[in-house]
């Protein structure tokens, strides 16, 4: 219970220390992350703890509460932070725009705010910590403030974060139901009418969706996440998005009490659209951090889809299946936090070694940076949803919850289920495509630039951080049963049902219903592949030989290959561009046959930007110009305004 306070005060303590100590403080932060993980793990099975802290405004103390849901998210935060902070210890050493001491302060304030958001037990504390989180991450995004793109990204991020925050504030306003008490404990007691409940739900979906990057509000994400320094991108993608999911879960399940079925359908539909959108856009990106940011949009979409499905089931009173879907969502939250952090810090190491984010100028780094390459491979496989890693388990659970729908009472919804399952399968398969592109173009093949041959591998701190995250990814994949034990208190808190069956079938088999129905044993699975691998290896050596001869590549006998003959990132995305053409807003520049210096260029834009944001911005600008008509800049006109106002007030008072 005290660990989060320690993180908070630590962040403050960093204020006075400066540059040189940064490499001591970040490991300390990592240690605290690990401690937070341990404390949260024990709190998961402990009874609810509450605390009132007399900080903030007089008469408005902060309420905090540590229940299973908070503890679960704290655990995720702690685990990801431990890895990322270790990495960051080696990362922040050169000039990054903001001096390292200040960056360190912002970084730890950001961490403390995220930890406090999930602990807040009244709307006031929640909003204060939520805003602290948004502001500190804004400063981190604009750490490289000489880059106009980073400034623009930061501005967009701040804008959408605040539009979202207003919606959340309004949502809390609806939830307190005119009692004037903004404590969550009061909101739990209020029984809202279906209309006001729906209003609160929609506001929450909008507000938290804006922070999470749900479909029409996603535009800031692929701008802001790549602009930040890599450890910060890792935290924003891996952890901060999860606080939005936490808020959504808290409002929908805990504060609202009852759910309506169409809320679930809405969240499911939006989530699936977001997931499909994210993965299709990720497949055509040429900047490695943007690619990962779009992949985050995809994963958040999947988590929202799972939550929506769970809401749908819970609205119809099917508690066990709702618990299954919610477990899938939470599992996905945890595994995404780890693998996305891992992938982002991997790109950070590449960025440090090469100075390049553009996939067209990378390649062949497996030889120069084997540590980073192998660690990233684990992250990429987990992200592609492949067994036996963590990403597959959540996908598996989600598909199971689709399959064992014992018939919803609404036949239209029943019809929806296979279509939705098909879309999820498609998203998962496309994620595999995207990850092969990401890993293959960055780490495999020939180096596309000469300087890449001199790239250096990550330092000791960075390796340690990545190793920690790799361990997490593998553990999540191989020991799902142990991890389900950690999720069960959360689903029991929110839905009153948990997945208790698995425990009965030993530690190795994941069994949501019964062995006859479905089971998955990742450890046995891995052992099966590994044993056949080793047997094949040993037998081939034993019966034949292990001779190897090195020669130039064959390539159908063509000897003059250069690095430019490999497939580029654009090339790899080309089939997706062609198949999903209507999804993109493409600008093509094709050279004519007579060009002396032919150039080929494709720019991929986002429809939503032109459909929603440009018109909204134009409207705001027009309105501002109309208001501007009032500003004449002459004192006589302003006196006239005052005079008219006074007259108006007098008329109104004497009426």
């Amino acid at each position: 219970m005290a660990a989060w306070l320690a993180v908070g005060t630590l962040g403050l303590a960093f204020l006075r220390r400066e540059r040189i100590v940064a490499s001591v403080l970040f490991p300390l932060g990592a240690l605290l992350g690990a401690a937070l993980f341990a404390v949260a793990l024990s709190a998961l099975f402990a009874p609810v703890e509450e605390a009132v802290l007399p900080i903030g405004l007089p008469g408005l103390p902060f309420h905090f509460r540590l229940d299973a849901l908070s503890a679960f998210f704290l655990m995720v935060i702690g685990a990801a932070v431990a890895g990322v902070s270790l990495f960051a210890a080696g990362y922040f050493r050169k000039d990054q725009g903001t001096p390292p001491g200040l960056l360190c302060l912002q970084y730890h304030v950001f961490l403390a705010a995220m930890a406090l958001v999930v602990l807040a037990n009244d709307a006031y504390a929640f909003m204060v910590t939520w805003e602290t989180m948004a502001l500190s991450s804004f400063f981190l995004v604009t750490a490289n403030d000489r880059d106009p793109e980073a400034r623009r990204a930061g501005y967009l991020y701040l804008l959408i974060a605040h539009v979202g925050a207003i919606a959340i504030l309004l949502c809390f306003g609806v939830l307190q139901a005119n009692t004037g008490d903004y404590a969550f404990s009061n909101m739990r007691l209020q029984h809202l009418s279906p209309f006001w409940g729906s209003v609160a739900f929609l506001l929450a979906l909008f507000g938290f969706g804006a922070k999470a990057g749900l479909l029409p509000l996603h535009v800031w994400l692929p701008e802001a996440h790549p602009a930040a320094p890599s450890p910060v991108s890792a935290l924003m993608s891996g952890v901060m998005l999860k606080t939005a999911l936490y808020g959504f879960l808290r409002v929908t399940y805990d504060l609202l009490g009852t759910q309506l079925w169409w809320w679930g359908v809405l969240a499911l539909g939006l989530g699936l659209l977001t997931a499909l959108f994210g993965v299709v856009f990720a497949a055509v990106q040429v900047d490695m951090k943007r690619l990962l940011a779009y992949s985050s949009i995809e994963n958040i979409g999947l988590a929202f889809a799972a939550i929506g499905l769970s809401t749908l089931f819970s609205a119809y009173g099917m508690r066990p299946i709702a618990a299954l879907a919610l477990t899938a969502a939470l599992y996905h939250v945890a595994s995404h936090a780890l693998f996305k952090s891992l992938l982002f810090v991997g790109t950070g190491a590449v960025l440090h070694a090469t100075g390049e984010r553009n996939l067209g100028r990378l390649g062949g780094l497996m030889r120069a940076m084997p540590w980073v390459a192998w660690a990233t491979l684990v992250g990429a496989l987990a992200s592609a949803g492949l067994p036996p890693l963590g990403g597959f388990v959540s996908e598996w659970l989600l598909l199971q919850s689709f399959l064992f729908t014992p018939g919803l009472p609404n036949s239209f919804l029943n019809m929806l289920i296979p279509v939705v399952a098909a879309l999820i399968a498609l998203v998962a398969a496309l994620a595999g495509y995207t990850m092969v592109k990401f890993f293959g173009v960055v780490f495999l093949g020939q180096p596309r630039e000469e300087k890449l041959r001199e790239a250096h591998d990550a330092g000791a701190w960075e390796r340690l951080g990545m190793l920690l995250l790799v361990t997490g990814c593998i553990a999540l994949g191989l020991a799902p049963v142990a991890f389900l034990q950690a999720i069960a208190p959360v689903t029991r808190l929110l839905l009153g049902a948990g997945l208790g069956h698995s425990a009965a079938h030993g530690t190795w088999l994941l069994v949501p219903v019964s062995v006859e129905v479905a089971s998955y044993g990742p450890a046995i699975f891995l052992a099966g592949v590994a044993v056949s691998f080793l047997l094949a290896f040993a037998l081939v050596r034993l019966l034949y030989h292990g001779r190897v001869r090195r020669a130039p590549p064959w390539d159908c006998g063509y000897p003059w290959q250069t690095a430019r003959m490999q497939d580029t990132a654009e090339g790899f995305g080309q089939p997706i561009r062609q198949i999903f053409e209507p999804a993109f807003r493409m600008e093509r520049e094709l050279p004519s046959p007579f060009d002396r210096a032919p150039r080929y260029r494709v720019l991929i834009g986002d429809h939503f930007w032109h459909w929603i944001y440009v018109p909204v911005a134009a409207t705001v600008e027009r309105a501002a110009r109309l208001v501007g008509l009032l500003q004449q800049g002459r004192i006589s006109v302003y006196l006239l305004y005052s005079f008219l106002t006074v007259i108006g007030v007098l008329v109104w008072v004497t009426r």
């Binding site: 062949g364 497996m366 030889r367 491979l377 496989l381 592609a384 492949l386 067994p387 598909l399 199971q400 399959l403 019809m415 296979p418 279509v419 098909a422 399968a425 498609l426 998962a428 398969a429 595999g432 990850m435 092969v436 890993f439 293959g440 173009v441 495999l444 093949g445 020939q446 190795w508 088999l509 062995v515 129905v517 479905a518 089971s519 998955y520 044993g521 046995i524 699975f525 099966g528 592949v529 590994a530 691998f533 094949a536 081939v540 034949y544 001779r547 190897v548 001869r549 090195r550 020669a551 130039p552 590549p553 064959w554 390539d555 159908c556 290959q561 490999q566 497939d567 089939p575 062609q578």
Partner: protein, 315 residues
């Protein structure tokens, strides 16, 4: 886990490893007959494997460890796939470790590794092959999953053994959903096994090859493992098809006799299936690579319709 279960499991893996190249040889022979060519001997794939294992492996100078590990990973994946698909018996100790969804994941894992290995050398054909393989994969994978889901809905289970058990015990009646799923499955397995309308296993024509482009840089034992793994994949797909659509003859109880009897039944079924595959390949022409998404899209839609038919009409 009973001794008999272990025996069934071992028998199944042994039969798969031994028979898979034979199935490939049989398909090649049938195809040659149908095309009025003189057929290669039935045992040609074994000779080929033997020859390749004897040869030195020639590795490209810049090949990374991933490139050398990939053939073993792919082989391991396919061996496990053959171990969990119930072909001879439905009492398999390994089967609970991976259900239908995990089986699809297993194929995806193998595909990702072979594609990454193809990109490793950085030749033009390797990366091209990887891109095309992933293109075929991302369309075929969800379709295959939907086909398996249709069967899962009928048997209320994603466990492969339960699916086969239920389907084998049903009365002889036609499920429209299974019929639709069967068509989808045929398309998917043609695409996944690099068969004619999508890819041609006999070609090295640069512009059209997919699978061959992926493994262009492999030689010696690595190539042998990949070829064997490809044969295992064809075997596994045939067995899935037989298990879903013609499940009769699979031993259900702890009976060694039934299991031994299941082997000749399997051989007969595979011979018929292989001949049908050769016939399909002979009757169709290779399609352009950008027609492939449409072709596989048909399979995807058919499989979804099959699920809908099952859910809404219960048929």
């Amino acid at each position: 886990m009973s001794g008999l279960g272990v025996f069934a499991q071992a028998l199944e893996i042994a039969v798969a490893l031994a028979l898979a190249p034979l199935l490939t040889g049989w398909v090649n022979q049938c195809r040659a007959w149908l095309q009025n060519k003189s057929a290669p001997p039935l045992l040609q794939p074994y000779r080929m494997l033997h020859k390749l294992f004897h040869k030195d492996s020639v590795l490209a100078e810049r090949a990374s460890p991933l490139f050398r590990a990939a053939p073993y990973v792919v082989f391991g994946c396919m061996a496990l796939a053959c171990a969990i698909v119930p072909t001879l018996s439905t009492e398999l100790p390994l089967s609970p470790a991976a259900d239908a969804i995990a089986l699809v994941g297993l194929f995806a894992l193998a595909r990702v590794f072979i594609s990454l290995a193809a990109m490793d050398i950085g030749t033009s054909f390797g990366t091209l092959g990887a891109r095309r393989e992933m293109l075929v994969g991302f369309l075929a994978e969800p379709a295959l999953l939907m086909v398996l889901f249709t069967a899962s809905l009928i048997s209320h289970s994603t466990s492969l053994t339960t699916i086969v058990d239920t389907l084998a015990h049903r009365e002889l009646e036609i499920y429209p959903s299974l019929a639709l799923a069967g068509v989808a499955f045929t398309i998917v397995s043609l695409a996944e096994n690099a068969r004619v309308p999508v890819d041609n296993p006999a070609t090295h024509l640069e512009l059209t090859m997919i699978h061959e482009a992926l493994i262009l840089e492999y030689s010696g034992r690595h190539l042998a493992l990949i070829e064997w793994a490809a044969a295992l994949k064809l075997f596994a797909y045939s067995c899935i098809g037989l298990a879903l659509f013609f499940p009769w003859g699979v031993a259900q109880a702890h009976a060694p006799l039934a299991m031994l009897l299941a082997v000749p039944i399997l051989v007969v079924k595979l011979a018929l299936g292989g001949a049908a595959l050769a016939f399909l390949e002979t009757m169709s022409a290779k399609m352009r690579i950008f027609r492939v998404p449409e072709f596989l899209g048909i399979a995807f839609v058919l499989a979804v319709i099959a699920m809908l038919v099952r859910i809404l009409l219960g048929a």
